[in-house]
Symmetry: C2
Subunit: 231 residues, 2 copies
Protein backbone atom coordinates (compact mmCIF):
# COMPACT_ATOMS: atom_id res chain seq x y z
CA UNK A 1 0.00 0.00 0.00
CA UNK A 2 1.33 3.42 -0.93
CA UNK A 3 0.94 6.21 1.62
CA UNK A 4 1.06 9.95 0.97
CA UNK A 5 0.80 12.33 3.92
CA UNK A 6 -0.61 15.83 3.40
CA UNK A 7 -0.77 18.71 5.88
CA UNK A 8 -3.28 21.50 6.46
CA UNK A 9 -1.27 24.37 7.86
CA UNK A 10 -4.18 26.28 9.41
CA UNK A 11 -5.52 23.41 11.51
CA UNK A 12 -2.35 21.27 11.80
CA UNK A 13 -4.33 18.37 10.32
CA UNK A 14 -2.83 15.41 8.49
CA UNK A 15 -4.72 13.94 5.54
CA UNK A 16 -3.61 10.59 4.14
CA UNK A 17 -3.92 9.17 0.66
CA UNK A 18 -3.62 5.38 0.56
CA UNK A 19 -3.57 3.41 -2.63
CA UNK A 20 -2.94 0.02 -4.09
CA UNK A 21 -0.23 0.49 -6.71
CA UNK A 22 -1.58 -2.27 -8.91
CA UNK A 23 -5.22 -1.26 -9.25
CA UNK A 24 -4.89 2.42 -8.23
CA UNK A 25 -7.87 1.92 -5.90
CA UNK A 26 -7.53 4.51 -3.14
CA UNK A 27 -8.83 5.77 0.17
CA UNK A 28 -8.44 9.22 1.70
CA UNK A 29 -8.38 9.57 5.48
CA UNK A 30 -9.43 12.86 7.16
CA UNK A 31 -9.77 15.46 4.43
CA UNK A 32 -10.08 19.20 5.13
CA UNK A 33 -12.70 21.23 3.29
CA UNK A 34 -10.29 24.05 2.38
CA UNK A 35 -7.95 21.53 0.71
CA UNK A 36 -10.43 19.79 -1.58
CA UNK A 37 -9.01 21.32 -4.76
CA UNK A 38 -5.43 20.49 -3.77
CA UNK A 39 -6.39 16.93 -2.89
CA UNK A 40 -8.46 16.45 -6.04
CA UNK A 41 -5.63 17.63 -8.26
CA UNK A 42 -3.22 15.28 -6.51
CA UNK A 43 -5.66 12.37 -6.84
CA UNK A 44 -5.99 13.05 -10.57
CA UNK A 45 -2.26 13.41 -11.13
CA UNK A 46 -1.60 10.13 -9.34
CA UNK A 47 -4.33 8.48 -11.44
CA UNK A 48 -6.24 7.23 -8.40
CA UNK A 49 -9.73 5.78 -8.25
CA UNK A 50 -10.97 6.82 -4.80
CA UNK A 51 -13.29 4.22 -3.28
CA UNK A 52 -13.44 5.45 0.32
CA UNK A 53 -13.36 8.77 2.14
CA UNK A 54 -12.63 7.72 5.70
CA UNK A 55 -13.01 9.76 8.88
CA UNK A 56 -11.11 8.87 12.03
CA UNK A 57 -13.85 10.69 14.02
CA UNK A 58 -16.28 13.59 13.94
CA UNK A 59 -13.78 16.47 14.12
CA UNK A 60 -14.22 19.56 16.28
CA UNK A 61 -11.38 21.64 14.85
CA UNK A 62 -11.93 21.57 11.09
CA UNK A 63 -14.63 20.66 8.61
CA UNK A 64 -14.15 17.56 6.49
CA UNK A 65 -13.90 17.75 2.71
CA UNK A 66 -15.51 14.32 2.37
CA UNK A 67 -18.87 15.55 1.05
CA UNK A 68 -17.39 17.73 -1.72
CA UNK A 69 -14.89 14.98 -2.59
CA UNK A 70 -17.69 12.39 -2.79
CA UNK A 71 -19.40 14.55 -5.41
CA UNK A 72 -16.21 14.67 -7.46
CA UNK A 73 -15.08 11.04 -7.08
CA UNK A 74 -18.18 8.94 -6.36
CA UNK A 75 -16.40 7.46 -3.33
CA UNK A 76 -18.24 6.28 -0.20
CA UNK A 77 -17.90 8.06 3.12
CA UNK A 78 -16.97 5.91 6.11
CA UNK A 79 -17.51 6.97 9.75
CA UNK A 80 -17.90 5.05 12.99
CA UNK A 81 -21.39 3.77 13.70
CA UNK A 82 -21.53 5.70 16.99
CA UNK A 83 -21.59 8.98 15.10
CA UNK A 84 -24.87 10.68 14.36
CA UNK A 85 -23.75 11.32 10.79
CA UNK A 86 -26.53 12.50 8.50
CA UNK A 87 -24.61 11.73 5.34
CA UNK A 88 -22.16 8.82 5.64
CA UNK A 89 -22.51 5.87 3.27
CA UNK A 90 -20.95 3.32 5.59
CA UNK A 91 -21.25 3.15 9.39
CA UNK A 92 -18.20 1.10 10.34
CA UNK A 93 -17.41 -0.87 13.45
CA UNK A 94 -14.47 -2.80 14.85
CA UNK A 95 -13.55 -5.77 12.71
CA UNK A 96 -14.83 -4.33 9.43
CA UNK A 97 -12.46 -4.69 6.51
CA UNK A 98 -12.26 -2.51 3.38
CA UNK A 99 -10.30 -3.55 0.33
CA UNK A 100 -8.21 -1.57 -2.13
CA UNK A 101 -7.30 -4.14 -4.76
CA UNK A 102 -5.96 -7.04 -2.74
CA UNK A 103 -4.84 -4.78 0.12
CA UNK A 104 -6.87 -4.49 3.30
CA UNK A 105 -7.80 -1.66 5.64
CA UNK A 106 -9.06 -2.92 8.98
CA UNK A 107 -11.12 -1.01 11.53
CA UNK A 108 -10.20 -0.74 15.18
CA UNK A 109 -12.52 1.19 17.51
CA UNK A 110 -10.23 3.38 19.63
CA UNK A 111 -12.54 5.76 21.55
CA UNK A 112 -11.40 8.29 24.13
CA UNK A 113 -11.03 11.54 22.20
CA UNK A 114 -14.65 11.06 21.13
CA UNK A 115 -16.88 7.99 21.08
CA UNK A 116 -16.51 7.74 17.29
CA UNK A 117 -12.74 7.20 16.98
CA UNK A 118 -11.50 4.73 14.42
CA UNK A 119 -7.91 3.62 13.91
CA UNK A 120 -7.43 2.44 10.33
CA UNK A 121 -4.94 -0.41 10.11
CA UNK A 122 -3.04 -1.51 7.06
CA UNK A 123 -0.13 -3.87 6.85
CA UNK A 124 2.62 -2.16 8.89
CA UNK A 125 0.85 1.12 9.66
CA UNK A 126 -1.87 2.54 11.91
CA UNK A 127 -3.72 5.79 11.19
CA UNK A 128 -4.65 6.70 14.71
CA UNK A 129 -6.62 9.94 14.29
CA UNK A 130 -6.72 11.93 17.52
CA UNK A 131 -6.41 8.92 19.78
CA UNK A 132 -2.66 8.32 19.63
CA UNK A 133 -0.56 11.35 18.68
CA UNK A 134 3.25 11.40 18.57
CA UNK A 135 4.35 11.29 22.25
CA UNK A 136 0.88 12.55 23.07
CA UNK A 137 -2.84 11.82 22.73
CA UNK A 138 -6.02 13.69 21.89
CA UNK A 139 -7.98 15.61 24.54
CA UNK A 140 -10.87 13.85 26.23
CA UNK A 141 -13.04 16.69 27.49
CA UNK A 142 -15.85 16.94 24.94
CA UNK A 143 -17.89 14.91 22.41
CA UNK A 144 -18.21 11.97 24.80
CA UNK A 145 -14.46 11.76 25.25
CA UNK A 146 -13.35 9.73 28.25
CA UNK A 147 -10.08 9.29 30.12
CA UNK A 148 -10.92 5.67 30.81
CA UNK A 149 -11.70 4.88 27.17
CA UNK A 150 -8.60 6.75 25.98
CA UNK A 151 -6.27 4.92 28.37
CA UNK A 152 -7.78 1.60 27.34
CA UNK A 153 -7.52 2.42 23.63
CA UNK A 154 -3.90 3.46 23.99
CA UNK A 155 -2.51 0.88 26.37
CA UNK A 156 -4.64 -2.16 25.58
CA UNK A 157 -5.57 -1.80 21.94
CA UNK A 158 -2.90 0.26 20.21
CA UNK A 159 0.10 -0.73 22.31
CA UNK A 160 -0.73 -4.39 21.56
CA UNK A 161 0.08 -3.89 17.88
CA UNK A 162 3.54 -5.01 16.65
CA UNK A 163 6.19 -2.57 17.89
CA UNK A 164 7.41 -1.69 14.41
CA UNK A 165 3.93 -0.60 13.28
CA UNK A 166 4.23 2.93 11.90
CA UNK A 167 1.94 5.45 13.59
CA UNK A 168 0.42 8.20 11.47
CA UNK A 169 -1.46 10.72 13.65
CA UNK A 170 -4.41 12.99 12.87
CA UNK A 171 -2.53 16.09 13.99
CA UNK A 172 0.80 17.18 15.27
CA UNK A 173 1.75 20.46 16.89
CA UNK A 174 5.54 20.01 17.21
CA UNK A 175 6.50 19.04 13.67
CA UNK A 176 6.44 15.27 14.07
CA UNK A 177 4.99 13.41 11.11
CA UNK A 178 5.05 9.83 12.33
CA UNK A 179 6.13 7.45 15.05
CA UNK A 180 6.03 3.74 15.82
CA UNK A 181 4.06 1.74 18.38
CA UNK A 182 7.34 0.71 20.06
CA UNK A 183 8.37 4.33 20.56
CA UNK A 184 4.99 5.35 21.90
CA UNK A 185 4.81 2.46 24.35
CA UNK A 186 8.12 3.65 25.73
CA UNK A 187 8.06 7.43 25.36
CA UNK A 188 4.47 8.61 25.14
CA UNK A 189 4.42 11.30 27.83
CA UNK A 190 0.85 10.57 28.90
CA UNK A 191 0.38 6.83 28.63
CA UNK A 192 3.84 5.36 27.95
CA UNK A 193 5.93 3.08 30.15
CA UNK A 194 5.31 3.60 33.85
CA UNK A 195 2.20 5.79 33.50
CA UNK A 196 -0.68 4.30 35.49
CA UNK A 197 -4.31 5.13 34.76
CA UNK A 198 -4.20 7.45 37.75
CA UNK A 199 -1.15 9.29 36.37
CA UNK A 200 -2.84 9.56 32.98
CA UNK A 201 -6.11 10.78 34.37
CA UNK A 202 -4.41 13.44 36.50
CA UNK A 203 -2.57 14.76 33.41
CA UNK A 204 -5.74 14.82 31.32
CA UNK A 205 -7.81 16.52 34.02
CA UNK A 206 -5.28 19.34 34.33
CA UNK A 207 -4.68 20.28 30.70
CA UNK A 208 -6.86 23.40 30.96
CA UNK A 209 -7.24 23.64 27.20
CA UNK A 210 -9.44 26.32 25.64
CA UNK A 211 -12.65 25.25 23.95
CA UNK A 212 -11.85 24.56 20.24
CA UNK A 213 -12.38 27.78 18.33
CA UNK A 214 -14.38 26.17 15.52
CA UNK A 215 -16.29 23.47 17.42
CA UNK A 216 -19.74 25.05 16.96
CA UNK A 217 -19.43 25.09 13.20
CA UNK A 218 -17.13 22.11 12.80
CA UNK A 219 -19.19 19.43 14.55
CA UNK A 220 -22.51 20.18 12.77
CA UNK A 221 -20.56 20.68 9.51
CA UNK A 222 -18.95 17.29 9.90
CA UNK A 223 -22.26 15.59 10.71
CA UNK A 224 -23.24 16.85 7.22
CA UNK A 225 -19.92 15.59 5.76
CA UNK A 226 -18.95 19.13 4.87
CA UNK A 227 -21.93 19.57 2.53
CA UNK A 228 -22.49 23.04 3.93
CA UNK A 229 -24.86 24.26 1.22
CA UNK A 230 -27.37 21.48 1.85
CA UNK A 231 -30.20 21.37 4.36
CA UNK B 1 17.64 3.20 5.68
CA UNK B 2 15.00 4.58 8.02
CA UNK B 3 13.67 8.06 7.30
CA UNK B 4 11.90 10.38 9.72
CA UNK B 5 10.58 13.69 8.44
CA UNK B 6 10.22 16.64 10.84
CA UNK B 7 8.65 20.03 10.20
CA UNK B 8 9.43 23.53 11.46
CA UNK B 9 6.12 25.38 11.44
CA UNK B 10 7.53 28.91 11.46
CA UNK B 11 9.77 28.52 8.41
CA UNK B 12 7.99 25.63 6.66
CA UNK B 13 11.29 23.72 6.74
CA UNK B 14 11.64 19.95 6.60
CA UNK B 15 14.38 18.29 8.63
CA UNK B 16 15.21 14.65 7.98
CA UNK B 17 16.62 12.02 10.27
CA UNK B 18 18.18 9.08 8.41
CA UNK B 19 19.52 6.03 10.13
CA UNK B 20 20.76 2.55 9.60
CA UNK B 21 18.54 0.30 11.69
CA UNK B 22 21.32 -2.19 12.38
CA UNK B 23 24.09 0.10 13.67
CA UNK B 24 21.91 3.13 14.59
CA UNK B 25 24.40 5.35 12.77
CA UNK B 26 22.50 8.44 11.68
CA UNK B 27 22.57 11.64 9.65
CA UNK B 28 20.39 14.71 10.04
CA UNK B 29 19.64 16.85 7.00
CA UNK B 30 18.77 20.56 7.35
CA UNK B 31 18.21 21.23 11.02
CA UNK B 32 16.61 24.43 12.37
CA UNK B 33 18.18 26.21 15.32
CA UNK B 34 14.89 26.66 17.18
CA UNK B 35 14.28 22.88 17.02
CA UNK B 36 17.56 21.64 18.43
CA UNK B 37 16.04 20.47 21.72
CA UNK B 38 13.20 18.68 19.96
CA UNK B 39 15.60 16.99 17.55
CA UNK B 40 18.05 16.06 20.29
CA UNK B 41 15.34 14.45 22.39
CA UNK B 42 14.12 12.49 19.37
CA UNK B 43 17.66 11.37 18.52
CA UNK B 44 18.14 10.15 22.10
CA UNK B 45 14.80 8.36 22.25
CA UNK B 46 15.55 6.58 18.98
CA UNK B 47 18.98 5.63 20.32
CA UNK B 48 20.82 7.15 17.34
CA UNK B 49 24.52 7.84 16.98
CA UNK B 50 24.62 10.90 14.73
CA UNK B 51 27.65 10.89 12.44
CA UNK B 52 26.73 13.67 10.00
CA UNK B 53 24.82 16.94 10.12
CA UNK B 54 24.19 17.63 6.46
CA UNK B 55 23.11 20.89 4.83
CA UNK B 56 21.44 20.94 1.42
CA UNK B 57 22.69 24.54 1.02
CA UNK B 58 23.44 27.74 2.89
CA UNK B 59 19.90 28.73 3.83
CA UNK B 60 18.50 32.25 3.63
CA UNK B 61 15.24 31.70 5.49
CA UNK B 62 16.28 30.02 8.73
CA UNK B 63 19.40 29.38 10.77
CA UNK B 64 20.74 25.84 10.93
CA UNK B 65 20.95 23.98 14.22
CA UNK B 66 24.03 22.08 13.01
CA UNK B 67 26.55 23.90 15.23
CA UNK B 68 24.62 23.39 18.48
CA UNK B 69 23.86 19.78 17.49
CA UNK B 70 27.55 19.14 16.75
CA UNK B 71 28.37 20.19 20.30
CA UNK B 72 25.83 17.73 21.66
CA UNK B 73 26.52 14.75 19.38
CA UNK B 74 30.11 15.06 18.14
CA UNK B 75 28.85 14.68 14.54
CA UNK B 76 30.58 16.27 11.54
CA UNK B 77 28.96 19.08 9.56
CA UNK B 78 28.76 18.58 5.79
CA UNK B 79 28.22 21.43 3.30
CA UNK B 80 29.02 21.87 -0.38
CA UNK B 81 32.57 22.96 -1.13
CA UNK B 82 31.32 26.07 -2.96
CA UNK B 83 30.08 27.52 0.31
CA UNK B 84 32.22 29.92 2.27
CA UNK B 85 31.45 28.06 5.46
CA UNK B 86 33.62 29.08 8.39
CA UNK B 87 32.75 26.03 10.43
CA UNK B 88 31.97 22.92 8.38
CA UNK B 89 33.99 19.75 8.95
CA UNK B 90 33.53 18.34 5.47
CA UNK B 91 33.33 20.27 2.20
CA UNK B 92 31.54 17.83 -0.07
CA UNK B 93 31.33 17.59 -3.82
CA UNK B 94 29.52 15.50 -6.40
CA UNK B 95 30.40 11.84 -6.18
CA UNK B 96 31.29 11.84 -2.49
CA UNK B 97 29.81 8.98 -0.50
CA UNK B 98 29.02 8.90 3.22
CA UNK B 99 28.23 5.67 5.03
CA UNK B 100 25.83 4.87 7.84
CA UNK B 101 26.62 1.26 8.68
CA UNK B 102 26.53 -0.45 5.30
CA UNK B 103 24.12 2.11 3.84
CA UNK B 104 25.31 4.86 1.56
CA UNK B 105 24.44 8.53 1.12
CA UNK B 106 25.68 9.90 -2.19
CA UNK B 107 26.20 13.54 -3.11
CA UNK B 108 24.77 15.14 -6.22
CA UNK B 109 25.54 18.81 -6.91
CA UNK B 110 22.23 20.39 -7.95
CA UNK B 111 22.83 24.15 -8.06
CA UNK B 112 20.30 26.73 -9.14
CA UNK B 113 18.70 27.95 -5.92
CA UNK B 114 22.24 28.79 -4.74
CA UNK B 115 25.63 27.57 -5.94
CA UNK B 116 25.94 25.31 -2.88
CA UNK B 117 22.95 22.99 -3.41
CA UNK B 118 23.41 19.32 -2.64
CA UNK B 119 20.89 16.56 -3.26
CA UNK B 120 21.52 13.68 -0.87
CA UNK B 121 20.74 10.32 -2.46
CA UNK B 122 20.03 7.09 -0.67
CA UNK B 123 18.64 3.90 -2.07
CA UNK B 124 15.17 4.86 -3.36
CA UNK B 125 15.04 8.46 -2.10
CA UNK B 126 16.42 11.90 -2.93
CA UNK B 127 16.60 14.77 -0.43
CA UNK B 128 16.48 17.65 -2.85
CA UNK B 129 16.72 20.71 -0.59
CA UNK B 130 15.40 23.82 -2.32
CA UNK B 131 16.25 22.64 -5.81
CA UNK B 132 13.30 20.34 -6.50
CA UNK B 133 10.18 21.06 -4.45
CA UNK B 134 6.85 19.25 -4.85
CA UNK B 135 5.43 20.49 -8.19
CA UNK B 136 7.75 23.47 -7.78
CA UNK B 137 11.38 24.53 -7.34
CA UNK B 138 13.38 26.99 -5.24
CA UNK B 139 13.81 30.63 -6.27
CA UNK B 140 16.92 31.56 -8.21
CA UNK B 141 17.28 35.28 -7.55
CA UNK B 142 19.97 35.50 -4.86
CA UNK B 143 23.04 33.73 -3.43
CA UNK B 144 24.39 32.96 -6.91
CA UNK B 145 21.17 31.27 -7.92
CA UNK B 146 20.74 30.79 -11.64
CA UNK B 147 17.85 29.85 -13.93
CA UNK B 148 20.19 27.97 -16.20
CA UNK B 149 21.75 25.94 -13.40
CA UNK B 150 18.33 25.23 -11.89
CA UNK B 151 16.84 24.01 -15.16
CA UNK B 152 19.87 21.82 -15.74
CA UNK B 153 19.79 20.40 -12.19
CA UNK B 154 16.08 19.63 -12.49
CA UNK B 155 15.75 18.29 -16.00
CA UNK B 156 19.16 16.71 -16.57
CA UNK B 157 20.31 15.58 -13.16
CA UNK B 158 17.23 14.93 -11.02
CA UNK B 159 14.80 13.85 -13.72
CA UNK B 160 17.37 11.23 -14.80
CA UNK B 161 16.93 9.35 -11.53
CA UNK B 162 14.64 6.28 -11.53
CA UNK B 163 11.00 7.41 -11.73
CA UNK B 164 9.99 5.72 -8.49
CA UNK B 165 12.68 7.58 -6.48
CA UNK B 166 10.95 9.29 -3.57
CA UNK B 167 11.51 13.05 -3.43
CA UNK B 168 11.81 14.71 -0.02
CA UNK B 169 11.96 18.50 -0.36
CA UNK B 170 13.54 21.15 1.85
CA UNK B 171 10.29 23.07 2.19
CA UNK B 172 6.69 22.91 1.20
CA UNK B 173 4.09 25.65 1.35
CA UNK B 174 0.96 23.70 0.33
CA UNK B 175 1.08 20.76 2.71
CA UNK B 176 2.87 18.25 0.48
CA UNK B 177 5.41 16.10 2.27
CA UNK B 178 6.90 14.10 -0.60
CA UNK B 179 6.69 13.24 -4.25
CA UNK B 180 8.44 11.01 -6.77
CA UNK B 181 10.76 11.78 -9.69
CA UNK B 182 8.16 10.32 -12.08
CA UNK B 183 5.48 12.72 -10.83
CA UNK B 184 7.75 15.73 -10.99
CA UNK B 185 8.94 14.95 -14.51
CA UNK B 186 5.29 14.95 -15.55
CA UNK B 187 3.61 17.52 -13.33
CA UNK B 188 6.21 19.97 -12.03
CA UNK B 189 4.60 23.27 -12.97
CA UNK B 190 7.90 24.98 -13.74
CA UNK B 191 10.12 22.36 -15.34
CA UNK B 192 7.90 19.33 -15.97
CA UNK B 193 6.85 17.79 -19.28
CA UNK B 194 6.63 20.32 -22.11
CA UNK B 195 8.35 23.20 -20.27
CA UNK B 196 11.28 24.49 -22.30
CA UNK B 197 14.14 26.44 -20.76
CA UNK B 198 12.54 29.58 -22.18
CA UNK B 199 9.19 28.76 -20.46
CA UNK B 200 11.03 28.05 -17.23
CA UNK B 201 13.09 31.19 -17.33
CA UNK B 202 10.05 33.38 -18.04
CA UNK B 203 8.27 31.90 -15.01
CA UNK B 204 11.29 32.41 -12.76
CA UNK B 205 11.91 35.97 -13.91
CA UNK B 206 8.34 36.96 -13.09
CA UNK B 207 7.87 35.52 -9.61
CA UNK B 208 8.28 38.94 -7.96
CA UNK B 209 9.01 37.40 -4.58
CA UNK B 210 9.86 39.60 -1.60
CA UNK B 211 13.41 39.48 -0.26
CA UNK B 212 13.55 36.75 2.44
CA UNK B 213 12.76 38.37 5.76
CA UNK B 214 15.64 36.74 7.61
CA UNK B 215 18.32 36.64 4.90
CA UNK B 216 20.61 39.19 6.56
CA UNK B 217 20.85 37.20 9.75
CA UNK B 218 20.32 33.73 8.26
CA UNK B 219 23.14 33.65 5.72
CA UNK B 220 25.91 34.87 8.07
CA UNK B 221 24.43 32.69 10.83
CA UNK B 222 24.59 29.66 8.56
CA UNK B 223 28.15 30.40 7.48
CA UNK B 224 28.88 30.02 11.22
CA UNK B 225 26.79 26.80 11.36
CA UNK B 226 24.39 28.45 13.80
CA UNK B 227 27.11 29.01 16.41
CA UNK B 228 25.75 32.49 17.03
CA UNK B 229 27.61 33.12 20.27
CA UNK B 230 31.05 32.61 18.72
CA UNK B 231 33.26 35.12 16.96
Amino acid sequence: MKIRQLFDYDTWTYTYLLWDEETKEAAVIDTVIEQVDRDMQHIEELGLNVKYLMETHIHADHITGAGPLRKRTGAEIVVHKNSESQCADILAEEGDVFKLGEQEIRILHTPGHTNTDITYLIDGAAFTGDTLLVRDCGRTDFQLGSNEDMYNSLTNKLFSLPEDTMVFPGHDYKGFTQSTIGEEKKYNVRAGEGKSYQDFSTIMDNLNLPRPRRIDIAVPGNLKCGNLDEE
